[in-house]
């Protein structure tokens, strides 16, 4: 059973989004996603300053198995990336919801964040996908 945190929003492509106090949205991948990917050995995050749109592939996670795209759940401007992942990509396996965050986005609007799945919806979505 994958861990799903109650205070986050989710995308069906298995990313989570956390609203920080300054209005910036922090993005990472869910426990379900990190488990499916297997052991992470390399992470490529977007450049700070890059403008992205919702559902755009903007990060890559390489596991022992394969390379997988990460899609931003929301559009906006990348304002920070999680530099420690460069030396410790395994943080995504060990702590995907906190230390394993990928990048932070200053959103264009609140609407995209609000329209993401809440924890209960995401749990039901996982169940409908068979796990």
């Amino acid at each position: 059973m994958s861990q799903v945190l109650a205070d986050l929003k989710y995308a069906k492509s298995h990313e989570w989004a956390r609203l920080l106090s300054n209005g910036v949205i922090e993005i990472g991948i869910t426990d379900h996603a990190q488990h499916a990917l297997g052991e992470v050995v390399f992470v490529e995050v977007p450049m700070v300053g890059r403008e992205i749109v919702a559902a755009e592939a903007c990060a890559v996670i390489e596991s022992t198995k394969a390379a997988s795209d990460v899609y931003s759940p929301i559009g906006g401007k990348v304002v920070a990336v999680n530099d420690p992942l460069g030396a410790a990509p395994e943080l995504i396996n060990q702590d995907c919801y906190l230390q394993g965050w990928l990048f932070r986005v200053q959103p264009i609007s609140d609407a995209e964040f609000d329209s993401l799945l809440n924890a209960q919806d995401y749990i039901e979505f996982l169940a409908s996908q068979g796990g």
């Binding site: 490529e44 390379a67 460069g86």
Partner: protein, 374 residues
């Protein structure tokens, strides 16, 4: 429907993540592929390789048959138990499979071929035997399972689990030799000092009904269950080719880093593919298989484009044939097929970016030691 080895239920009970490999449902890891890799480099691990196909070739005509069938020369096999690694080629020199041959007696050679090619290989061998009127019988040993116990402590731990009268003898096996032993169960176990990891170890071929107990005894003695994921990273670090990635029917051994397995010494030996290889050899072999270590950050993967940087040469590009993240080196490594004139550095295209990689002499790692400059 995927085929299952006799250990399939045990893999499930051990929490293995399963994957299709050559039509077989096989464990890719039991939790951590990277941890399993390190266990083999530093300690001992066991792999289920029962998907591989054990063939016994028997009859008075076995030696002459193999002398024509494979590109290495079975004339090198004079001592009983000696193993020989070789390719089996088609007439065009393409690699049908790579295999290991153990010389048991003049009437009996044991051959181990890959899982994904077993049906093709057996059909090819039977067809050749018919054409050459060879006095041989090809017996598929589906009654046998196969384990690889690998790592610096593998031989000692494995031998401790063997019947007491066998222990001293198996520890005296020379590298690349195998021998049959009578087990306490009264059955016959074939044990060889061979493997696919670059570490010391044994490969054991034993009756299907006895393999689960052996696996459990190895686990209890501290040998880690290891999946095909670690097997792949270990063999890549050890500079060992994988059939279907690094050589196949479209590529001959000379352009696959396997010239050392082709024996041209006996000019009278007319092995399948010889004419094609001789013709190929008259000019400079246009491509070669090399080792790469990625200098930039990323992960090399099979089929990535390699730019060898020889702009004036028509052949200025190559391709990664196998690539991975190396747990021992904590860097990405690969094999690539590139133009013969390729220098000491290349670039590899990863997601549209050209990243720098350095050409290195294989292997990357052997017997727990890193052999390249990082």
């Amino acid at each position: 429907m995927a085929r299952c080895t006799p250990l399939h239920d045990l893999h499930a009970a051990l929490g293995a993540r399963m994957v299709d490999f050559g039509g077989w449902d096989m464990p890719v890891h039991y939790g951590s592929q990277i941890e399993e890799h390190h266990r083999v480099r530093n300690d001992a691990g066991v792999f289920d390789v029962s998907h591989m196909c054990v063939l016994d070739l028997r009859g008075a005509g076995v030696r002459p048959f193999l002398s024509r069938l494979i590109s290495n020369d079975v004339a090198k096999l004079r001592l009983s138990g000696k193993a020989l690694y070789s390719c089996m080629l088609n007439e065009a020199g393409g690699v049908l499979d790579d295999l290991i041959i153990y010389f048991m007696t003049e009437q009996w050679f044991r051959v181990v071929v890959n899982a994904g090619t077993r049906d093709k290989d057996i059909a090819w061998m039977r067809a050749q035997a018919a054409v050459w009127h060879s006095d041989i019988e090809i017996i598929e040993r589906s009654d046998l399972a196969m384990l690889a116990v690998q790592g610096p402590k593998a031989r000692q731990i494995a031998s401790d689990l063997l019947p007491s009268h066998l222990r001293a003898a198996v520890l005296l096996l020379e590298p690349f030799f195998g021998c049959e032993y009578l087990s306490t169960q009264g059955s016959t176990w074939f044990i060889a000092r061979t493997g696919y990891t670059g570490e010391e170890g044994f490969e054991l071929i034993l009756p299907v009904g006895e393999v689960v107990a052996l696996w459990e005894a190895l686990n209890a003695a501290g040998v880690a269950s290891c999946g095909l994921g670690a097997r792949d990273t270990l063999r890549l670090e050890a500079g060992m080719n994988l059939y279907g990635n690094d050589m196949d029917e479209s590529h001959n051994p000379l352009e696959s880093g396997l010239a050392w397995t082709v024996s041209f010494d006996d000019s009278g030996r007319d092995f399948v593919g010889r004419k094609a290889l001789e013709a190929f050899r008259t000019t400079l072999v246009p491509r070669k298989l090399i080792g790469l270590i990625l200098e930039d950050r990323g992960v090399l993967r099979a089929h990535q484009r390699v730019v060898a940087g020889l702009a004036k040469d028509a052949l200025c590009e190559g391709e990664v044939t196998s690539g991975t993240f190396s747990p021992t080196l904590a860097r990405s490594i690969a094999f690539a097929r590139v133009p013969q004139a390729t220098g000491e550095t290349v670039q590899v295209e990863i997601r549209g970016n050209l990243l720098n990689a350095r050409v290195v002499k294989l292997p990357f790692v052997r017997n727990g030691r890193i052999l390249i400059t990082l």
